[in-house]
Structures are given as structure tokens and as C-alpha cells.
Assembly symmetry: C2
Homo-oligomer: 237 residues x 2
Amino acid sequence: MRRLINRILNYSSPDKQLLLQLEHLVGFTPKHIAYYRLALMHRSKPDDVTASNERLEFLGDAILGAIIAEYLFKKYPYQPEGYLTELRSRIVRRETMNNVALRMGLNKLVQYNQNDRGLSRSHIFGNALEALIGAVYLDQGFANTRKFILNQIIRSYIDLDTMESTDTNYKNQLLSWAQRNGKQLSFDLIAEVNEGTRKLFTVGIMLDGTVVADGTGYNKKDAGQVAAKNALEKLGI
Amino acid sequence: MRRLINRILNYSSPDKQLLLQLEHLVGFTPKHIAYYRLALMHRSKPDDVTASNERLEFLGDAILGAIIAEYLFKKYPYQPEGYLTELRSRIVRRETMNNVALRMGLNKLVQYNQNDRGLSRSHIFGNALEALIGAVYLDQGFANTRKFILNQIIRSYIDLDTMESTDTNYKNQLLSWAQRNGKQLSFDLIAEVNEGTRKLFTVGIMLDGTVVADGTGYNKKDAGQVAAKNALEKLGI
């Protein structure tokens, strides 16, 4: 404890401020602030791109995936593998994580080139959240990272019930739009490729005989969802 | 210790035999043999498909991904994220894991429908290895699973140097075949889709004006490799 206090007292003033903000955000006192500083550094900011959070994002993304997998495996003991895979992909997807990061206020801490207006509309905050998970893992080990993810992310910001039930949302949205507008719509499997230990499916969406979008996923249903989501975006629905 | 010995003494004879085989394979004494029994059960075997190893495979795949990510993150402190992602995908890919499983002798323990001849030529042993990782995690926790993966899998069976250097192998193989046979070959990016927190690229291979194969990956280089590998298979090269 004394060592921890000394360490905090020894921090320079901007470090002290970041430490307080981080404590609030993660729910514990970070030991090595350098990891966190790196996690909050978008590659648009430092002169040297290797001084950005991308490597930590790679690590954090993997740790997050493992902890969510275990959480779902135990929470849904009677659901098949496909169900768990789908639900996990919905939790860790870019939009969800970015949304969580914004609600946590992580956007106020991320360092990025503010002149590039497009950045704040992209998913850099969700990516920084993954990098933060990587930093927590290096700083605190597996058990504390697990607690952080389950308490500060899943239980605080993820509504699993809604996530389970919004299942066929994009596909349904697109189908009902097509029906309302008298368009002919079909979902076609256009590719099936081995990737790593899994099969990757690409589903294309035909609208009145023209391919308007495609989507990829580890099962056909997921791929259809991604394709439908892309079609909705392209068609401005 | 006495409790452990009692537990082993209480096992029925087939359990005792499996326990000895597992000890040899994983390098420690399993506590809960039921997890391991499930990990070794391919879905072609039990009457009830939910009594198969697919859920454990989902869990083990995620744990493996996280531990390999950390291993590479620390082993290659100066390599960018793309390099780590690519190297990891090469380690955890279906073929690599199946090959490791065969060299470990896991094929002798997996329960599957032996009348289905296609199965033994597919990747069911690699999948069982992932399920075994899931079982080890539930039985032994994170730290011991990490040791198991690093010692019994990575350091024993994965030649990282070769894996790093065989980098452009498939693409090179295909290119030199095309040159030898006077064929016109091109690699084209045919799709770019957001999937979860990453971008997924699909690369197609044109041979004398016809698409012969495609491949998907989290960067264009990876996708090109997968596409080239698929083309080599299709063309029987």
C-alpha cells in the first residue's frame, strides 16, 4: 500500500490526472500507467505509428473474445455452439464496443488527431476500449481483467436480452421494406471458404436481379444478417 | 494428494485408462474427467448431438486465440499488429491444429463414427484439440491452460521460424505454376466487409479471365494466401 501511494505521489501532474480518470473508468488503481497511456493513443496522433494502440488492441480483442466465450458458455449451458458464436459476435462487434466506449466516456481520454473529422465518427473509441482491455491484462493479469470485463462492460452496458431478441432484425427490416415497395429480394450463398479452424460464408443480396450487398460470417445466418445490414446502409433505409 | 488418489481409485476401469492416457497427453492429472470425456466426443458418435464436443470447441478456440495473442505480443515486441494477426491465424488454422492433434496421438482417443470414412480425413482431431483446451480451462483454470498451450502445443509442435518464413508460400507456388504454364493470373479484391470489430477482405483469383477461387481474411495478404491455397487445391497443383 505504501509503495502504491509512493508510486502515485511520484507521478507527474498529468499522470496523476490520468490516473484518477482511469481509476474512475476501470474501478481499480492501475499499477503501470504506461500501458494505459499507450492504449489511449490512436495512430493518427503520434509521429511514430508504432507508438499507437494497435498492438494492444490485437491483444485486448483476443482476451475479450475468450472472456465473453467463457461467460456465454456458462450462462447458456443448453445452447448449441452456433448460438454462442452468434451472440458473441454481436457483443464484440465494432458498433457495440464503440457504443460502450462512448457511454463509458472513453472518447474524452483517447488521443487522436482532432483535425481529422472522420475519425470521431469511426470506431476508434471501441478499438481503444479493446486496447484498454489489453492494458488491463498486462497490468493486472487474467482474473482482474475478467472481473473488469464482466462488471464494467457486460453487466453495466450490454443488454443481453435485447441482443438475443434483435437476432433477425436487419433481415426482417429489409424483407418488410422490399414487400412494402414491391421489390423482389433474395439471399444467395455466394462463397464458402475455409478460414482457420472455421468455415466462412458469404451471402449476397439480390434486389430485382442485381446484387446490392454481401456479408460474411461463420454461419449462413450471421452472414445473412451482415449482408442485410450492409444492404440497408447502401439503400439508405 | 490423498483426495486425488482416492478420486483416481474410485474411477471405474475405463475411466482409469483414459485418465492415464490423458495424463500422458496433457502433462498433469485431470481433476474432472467428465470435461475431457466430452471434449473427445465427436458429434457423429452420441445419439444426442448436444452431448458432443462442439460447445467446448467454441470455448477452447477462444482461449487458444487469447493465449497465442499474448505469446506473440510478448515474443515480437517490435512487430506491428498486422504481423501478429497473420502469424496467429497461421498457428490456429484448421490444418495446423489438426496436424498437432495427430502428432500428439489425440486421434486414438477421439470417439467418432468410424463407419464414416470421410471424418478421419477431415479436421475433427484439431477440433477435438480445441475442445480439449476448453476442458483443461474448466478443469484447471487460466494459468495452467496457458502452461499447457505454451509447453505441450507451441513449444512442442509449432515451428515458428518456418511459419514466419513460409509466409508467401501458396501465392508463390501458384504464381510460379502459372508462369511455367503460360497462364495469365491475377489477384483481385472482390469484397470488403465489416465483420465484428474488423474488416474482412475477399480476394478472388482470375486465371485466363475466369475466377477459379476466392479466399477471405482480415487483411488483403491473408485473403490472397487463402485464395491461392484454394486455387492450388481446385486445380490439383
